[in-house]
Amino acid sequence: MELKLEIENKEGVTVIYPDGFINAHTVNQFEETLQNLVKEKHYRIVLNGEGLEYISSAGMGALMGVIEEIRDNDGDIHLCNLSESVFNVFDILGFTELYEIFEEEAPAITAFDGHNRK
């Protein structure tokens, strides 16, 4: 398989661990996972890119497809542990302004606490 997705719940935040490639061939799996999370009202999501070797615009589109509903519900998608080349794709598109990107997972999770308090 070119893409495996693991999901863990950490302190009320859903962390997604994609392992492999997100391209037009594997994106349905990624898209369904995101849509199911939203359907189940999980609006605090961290995408840990440690095992993500590659993402194409198909994957970006999947994120764009859910981000509005997530934000409308006071949630967000935080990114962390992106490889240089994956970060580069977000950067080329200017999406580093659209998504909060963290070096490590812990701050990507705790960053949701701020939203909690307000």
Binding site: N23, A24, S57, G65, N88, V89, I92, L93
Partner: protein
Amino acid sequence: MKRFFNVEFAADTIFLKLATDVTISMCRLAGFNDSTAKDISLAVDEAVTNTIKHAYHFDKSRLVTLQFTITQEELIIDVCHTGNPISNTEIHLPDMEEYMKQYRKGGLGIVLMTRIMDSVSFGSNGNHHYCRLVMKRGRRHVG
């Protein structure tokens, strides 16, 4: 001196990974560094995906051909098909600021391609249509 390398496969996204792998190998042969090679392979992914999606509407019985040409100055990659053509005038690059405000979902492929490559153009020879991606073999990318 020119070097040619052609790859032909069914219009099936299962071959995307192979197409990007071949592109990375070809970029190394042309002397591009790993980071540029990855970027170029992403542009090829996008062009092939568009071909499968928009030119062939996911008809797996059709064929996509990648033609790699290395010249002294540049690497030229033609993504060729015999399906629905697209003309240069049809291509609209989204205004990215507007784009982000509206959380739109598609239309990012061509943006990526044009931002990565030195040039992206579309053309036809009779029934054969192509998306041509060009990258200069300048110092910038070597190393």
